[in-house]
């Protein structure tokens, strides 16, 4: 489907205070701008309104890039018209014609904010019957094969057909810096991905050259500190963390049913450090860690 705007949904349930929300929005907007710039994607404007972000663009290359931006829950490429029933009807039937055929079943999902002479329900009924006439598809509100979404916001209406999942989490950079221990043959990509997903900027400490291509794809550019093999990597990481005012170190430790010494090893590491050590992978099963490692 062609589009002129991408609607971006964000927000965590825990995002309560107005101040936190503003900070979150600003950081998210900046991170989106950065990634679009980095990959030379084109856009005219980006703004926050009605608890959403709107990117005005027709560039298809923007879509896969939004999957890289933590904090985005979902997004929808949309076409825009005036918030008048006849305009909405014209646009949505045009979109439906391209996408829905008589073998399909469909539902119209409408929401509305602002003053209008019609209700959300009226949009559903009117547009649903128009689409039915034109496509000969049946209506099925509970489990349709296709959906048409109409979001009326004051003087504008957005029409779209899909909600694409984003990576969720919170915008990178909100929490500040965490230093990652990257060791060969360990799931450091999964660990770094998760720490970034929860808002941390990261820098890596390693003793040897590692393949960072996938990590860089997901996290963008980040600093790598290579330290001497003969030294204790945790102690070195702590030195770096203190220089950089990072508040935590993380590693890719996992917890398994079979290894009995997990906790003994954890305790040894904690004992030699004054900074906290985060283990973002211990709450996941092996399947999930594998999946994250092959991102």
């Amino acid at each position: 489907m062609k589009f002129s705007t991408i609607i971006i949904r964000y927000g965590e349930i825990g995002l309560k205070s107005k101040q936190t929300r503003k900070f979150f929005e600003r950081k998210l907007m900046q991170n989106i701008k950065n990634v679009l710039k980095e990959f030379n994607a084109e856009y005219d404007n980006i703004k926050t309104e009605w608890g959403r972000l709107y990117v005005e663009t027709t560039d298809k290359n923007v879509l896969p890039l939004l999957k890289l931006v933590f904090g985005i829950v979902s997004f929808s490429p949309a076409q825009v018209c005036n918030a008048e029933m006849k305009d909405i009807s014209k646009l949505s039937t045009k979109i439906a014609k391209e996408r829905i055929n008589e073998k399909d079943t469909f539902a119209v999902r409408a929401t509305r904010q602002g003053d209008h002479s019609f209700r959300s329900r009226d949009i559903g009924i009117q547009i649903g019957s128009n689409i039915q006439k034109i496509t000969k598809a049946g209506v099925n509100l509970s489990d349709p094969t296709k959906e048409v979404f109409v979001e009326v916001r004051n003087k504008k209406a957005f029409v779209f057909v899909e909600k694409i999942s984003g990576p969720c989490g919170i915008p990178q950079g909100i929490e500040g810096l965490a230093i990652g221990i990257f060791e060969k043959d360990r799931p450091f990509l999964a660990a770094a991905y998760l720490m970034s997903k929860r808002g941390c900027d990261i820098e890596a400490v390693t003793t040897e050259e590692l393949d960072m291509e996938r990590v860089r794809y997901w996290l963008g550019d980040f600093k790598i500190h290579t330290v001497d093999k003969t030294k204790d990597i945790y102690k070195e990481a702590e030195k770096i963390a203190k220089q950089k005012n990072a508040k935590a170190i993380f590693n890719s430790d996992i917890l398994t049913k079979d290894t009995l010494d997990n906790l003994v090893d954890f305790a040894k590491i904690s004992k030699k450090l004054t900074l906290p050590i985060f283990r973002p992978l211990i709450g996941f099963d092996e399947k999930k860690i594998k999946q994250l490692s092959s991102l």
């Binding site: 929860r198 009995l260 906790l263 050590i277 709450g283």
Partner: protein, 214 residues
């Protein structure tokens, strides 16, 4: 020996997160000792019942007979309230819980603590605050939910059947200030704490803890 090396102390409240964190660690075959901080009258008394119910649900699900420490916490909280800048109440309250739980862990030969903490989910669980809280103690803190999104936690809570009890009324902590500290500084917090008799408070709490067998 093998058994001892799998023992942990889990800090459990009546909320959504800590039962899920504990469930994830039970899945991994860890032996869990439960610790609940009884904060009445700063919390409603229904919190105690909720917590007992949650421990019960987990015990049945994972077929365990856990030890359950009920630690009186309001005396510690009153001391904090009387002596500490209210903005930092939460951070210091949590540091006290960590200290007490670490003492219990030592007594029980447990190797780590487990909490439901999550990075960035609420304003008080920032990287800065978690860092300052973690610095209180020497034993590792396992935070299985550290990098989970809230909707993922809720999904597991429903799977392990704790969700429906966790969302019952009574999670209110009246101890929380209106604007809690979001970027705690270790040096500042340590200075504030120097007005408290920490050792005595911790020792008393451990001594007055009641062990319940469910």
């Amino acid at each position: 020996m093998a058994k001892k090396a799998r023992k942990v102390v889990s800090l459990i409240s009546g909320g959504i997160d800590s039962p899920v964190a504990t469930a994830l660690m039970l899945e991994k075959g860890l032996e869990v000792i439960f610790v609940h901080f009884d904060s009445r009258p700063f919390t409603c008394s229904s919190v105690i019942d909720k917590t007992r119910d949650l421990v019960g649900i987990l015990s049945r699900r994972y077929k365990i007979k856990p030890k359950f420490y009920m630690v009186p916490h309001s005396k510690v909280q009153t001391e904090i309230l009387d002596n500490i800048d209210h903005k930092s109440l939460c951070v210091i309250c949590r540091r006290m819980m960590y200290r007490i739980a670490e003492k219990i862990a030592k007594k029980e030969n447990a190797l780590a603590l487990v909490t439901g903490e999550n990075l960035g989910q609420v304003a008080s669980q920032t990287l800065d605050n978690l860092s300052v809280e973690d610095a209180t103690i020497k034993i590792p803190v396992l935070r299985p939910l550290l990098s989970y999104d809230k909707n993922e936690v809720i999904k597991i809570a429903k799977e392990v059947n704790t969700y429906w009890v966790s969302i019952l009324p009574g999670s209110c902590c009246k101890f929380t200030p209106k604007f809690p500290e979001t970027h705690a500084d270790l040096k500042v917090i340590e200075k504030m704490e120097s007005t408290l008799n920490i050792e005595k408070l911790v020792a008393e709490a451990v001594q007055n803890a009641k062990v319940e067998n469910l």
